[in-house]
Amino acid sequence: MPASEFDLSTDLDTLYRQHHGWLEGWLRRKLNDTFAAADLAQDTFVSVIHSGQAHEIREPRPFLATIARRLIAHRHRRQRLEDAYLEVLASLPEAVYPSPEEQLQALETLRQIDSALDGLPAQVKEAFLLAHLEELSYAEIAERLGVSSSSVKQYLMRANRQYLFALAS
């Protein structure tokens, strides 16, 4: 076994034993939900493992709390998206209601797209969705958003760049 891998697992082991209980307690107080706290504490450590940064951590608790906060935000975001999708489904006529498999599939794709567009200004994101999903022309998007066609083109350049190439997925 190479030395670095050995160190990594020792670091993780120490990190887990010394701080997992604290992190779970901190999350429990913050979320007021025992199960969610246990899940998120676990996810936080999984995330540390994936980062490969366990050996570089100098102040473990603030570091873990930062990751946990991001995971909470991420979880809220997923929840909001799921709620939005369920609400849209509820408004559909029965004849076009998707099967459970199709719903899962669509939700997974929607999550990927939502996460790929994360951080874009609302107008830019809206321009992207109107162009790709509603298939409106740039002039129509410009009218909807109250901006010029050349702005729409810039918005799409930015959103396309982020959607297509920002994430290594």
């Binding site: 995330s47 994936h50 980062s51 990751i67 991001r70 995971l71 991420h74 998206l81 939005a84 999708y85 609400e87 849209v88 489904l89 408004s91 559909l92 076009v96 998707p98 099967s99 498999e101 199709e102 599939q105 669509a106 794709t109 929607l110 999550r111 990927q112 797209i113 939502d114 996460s115 790929a116 567009l117 994360d118 609302a122 994101k125 809206e126 969705l129 109107l130 162009a131 790709h132 999903l133 509603e134 298939e135 409106l136 022309s137 740039y138 129509e140 083109k153 799409l156 350049m157 396309n160 760049r161 959607y163 297509l164 190439f165 920002a166 994430l167 290594a168 997925s169």
Partner: protein
């Protein structure tokens, strides 16, 4: 998991990938510029040639472009309306605020809001650039280099990818009827498999005559001779569809098989055959062949009619409707026609 990972560690340096391999930032930028230009729908023939030259200029360009097609294909595979409403930062606020006021005018109000979008909907860039395409109301027959005969129905876009291994017909929109060279009795038979690709999956021809229709989020297939194999993209299931059968499939799910009716392939003769067909369905079918907006009031959509109708003369069909059903045709313009209950 990747998305989550980079969301949690935004400082991780992002690598630019296309089809799992790194590409340079410059090529990614160029590809995005081409896409943004093509999506505008305002490209000249010269620009389209320049785009093709760019693609052909290096394997990295081609790879970046295939990556773009895969990623935009993912968007196209979603039911557009639901996806837009779920993801848009604006759509649902507006929807919630206006829900109460909309309730009363739900039928026409809702329909008009939706069809307003349809009316202004232009062909997508994929459709505009397709090798073979037909406009609304147009039908055309083409013979491919291998002898396969393809009939394109109204508003159809088809791309061909023939190489050493396969003959791929990429149906981007609309409906086609495929008669393979083998089904026409032509010799020798081309050994490369012939497949039709839609947003939901692939259909492999087994020496045959069959039709494929690309609907929103759904593919319909009908087989007239021999057989085809259906492969939905996200399913391990392979379904053989025999002569006299039809079905539909999504990316994950194949519908039950049903018997083929004469009406299913009537379009290849320029007809709609209605056999006790609900008016709403009939109008939706006729709408495919007519530019602009043609809508039926849901309150009369359940009325039934029968007959053989020529799709190329939709004006005359509309004119005769009030003589067979208690309806009236209200034309706001040639491009905006509503079928309502007769008063």
């Amino acid at each position: 998991m990747n998305g989550q990972h980079s969301a949690v560690y935004p400082n991780t340096p992002a690598r630019l990938l296309a089809e799992g391999q790194p590409i340079s930032a410059a090529v990614a930028d160029q590809a995005v510029e081409w896409l943004t230009l093509l999506m505008s729908g305002a490209t000249s023939a010269q620009e389209q040639l320049a785009w093709q030259a760019w693609r052909a200029a290096s394997p990295e360009h081609e790879r970046a472009w295939r990556h773009i097609e895969a990623m935009t294909g993912r968007l196209k595979a979603l039911p557009a309306k639901s996806a837009y409403q779920t993801l848009s930062p604006y759509a649902r606020q507006t929807a919630q605020a206006s829900r109460r006021t909309l309730l009363r005018s739900l039928f026409w109000g809702g329909l008009l809001a939706g069809s307003g979008l349809l009316a202004s909907r232009t062909n997508t860039w994929q459709e505009q650039l397709a090798e073979h395409r037909t406009g609304t109301g147009e039908q055309r027959r083409v013979t491919l280099s291998d002898g396969t005969c393809v009939t394109l129905n109204t508003a159809t876009a088809l791309d061909l990818q023939f190489d050493a291994q396969t003959r791929l017909l990429h149906l981007r929109a609309g409906e086609i009827m495929v008669v393979t060279a083998a089904a026409q009795g032509l010799q020798p038979v081309d050994p490369r498999p012939l497949e039709v690709q839609t947003a939901q999956g692939r259909i492999r021809a087994l020496g045959t005559r069959f039709s494929v229709r690309q609907d929103n989020g759904h593919t319909q297939v009908a087989v007239q001779e021999n057989a085809v194999q259906l492969h939905p993209t996200r399913s391990d299931r392979v379904q053989v569809l025999l002569a006299g059968q039809r079905t539909g499939f999504s990316r994950t799910h194949i519908d039950p098989l049903r018997p083929l009716h004469e009406a299913d392939l009537a379009w290849t003769r320029g007809q709609i055959i209605a056999d006790d067909m609900p008016l709403g369905e009939f109008i939706a079918e006729l709408d495919r062949y007519r530019p602009g907006v043609l809508r039926c009031d849901p309150r009369i959509a359940g009325l039934r009619l029968s007959g053989v109708f020529p799709v190329h003369d939709s004006d005359r069909i509309l004119a005769t409707l009030p003589s067979v059903l208690p309806v009236q045709v209200r034309a706001r313009s040639r491009y905006w026609v509503l079928i309502e209950k007769a008063v």
